[in-house]
């Protein structure tokens, strides 16, 4: 047990703490979109730190490259999937948090700049906030 091995504990414990904080944010945040930002940013950094710890842990290129490939993959896919999910949540009428200060997509939908593909039977969010379809 050489002392250098404990160097991998730094990203490992940091990443695990970040993952736990992301879980706390998903549980406690008031809104889907706030939950989403808590989950996506903290969990991508947390998982990347854990994978970096594994990459430091192994001394062979063949195993470390898997971890590095997973880091790259996560940093590419998590923003995309979060963006898609946020768009889907907004278009299906998931209610925004009461303290939301800005909703630019509602203005774009109202002005016709953006035509949502599924929102014909549900009224635009700024006209009837109570009358929106219940979220699935």
């Amino acid at each position: 047990m050489e002392p250098l091995a404990y160097l991998t504990l730094v990203p490992l414990v940091g990443g695990i703490l970040l993952l736990t904080i992301a879980g706390l944010g998903v549980l406690r945040m008031p809104d889907v979109f706030l939950r989403m930002q808590a989950a996506s940013k903290a969990s991508s950094l947390g998982a990347a730190l854990v994978l970096a710890a594994v990459a430091l842990h192994y001394h062979s290129v063949g195993d470390s490259s898997h971890a590095i490939a997973a880091i790259v993959l996560l940093f590419i896919t998590i923003p995309v999937s979060t963006h898609l999910l946020a768009r889907a949540a907004y278009l299906t009428g998931v209610p925004l948090w009461k303290g939301t200060v800005q909703d630019e997509l509602a203005a774009a939908i109202r002005s016709g700049e953006y035509v949502p593909p599924v929102s014909e039977e549900s009224p635009p969010p700024e006209q009837a906030p109570q009358g929106r379809r219940p979220p699935l």
């Binding site: 195993d63 999910l85 278009l91 299906t92």
Partner: protein
Amino acid sequence: MTHTPLPEPLLEALMVFVAAGALLPLARLVKGPSLADRAVAFDLIAMAVLALACLEAMRSGRGVFLDAAVVLAILTFVATVAIAQFLAPARSLAPTPGRSGPDGPRGGA
């Protein structure tokens, strides 16, 4: 010597901690009011499982668990995209994406 060993009880304690931390998004998965909430919680649980796979790779010294982590990352992405497409299909999937906006059978959401 292909890896620097860490003490096994330490890694096992960290695994227990990760699994306990995955209970927080599990609660959101159970009670989340919308399907998007559940998708977010599922995403986060998958990240915790990925961390568990990494820890197991460190504990057992087998690089196969890293392959499992990579596959898990890909599958999570595909699952989230599928849920998002189910909720609100993209415009390119609409049957007539004309100038007047898509009109056709609405997505099941």
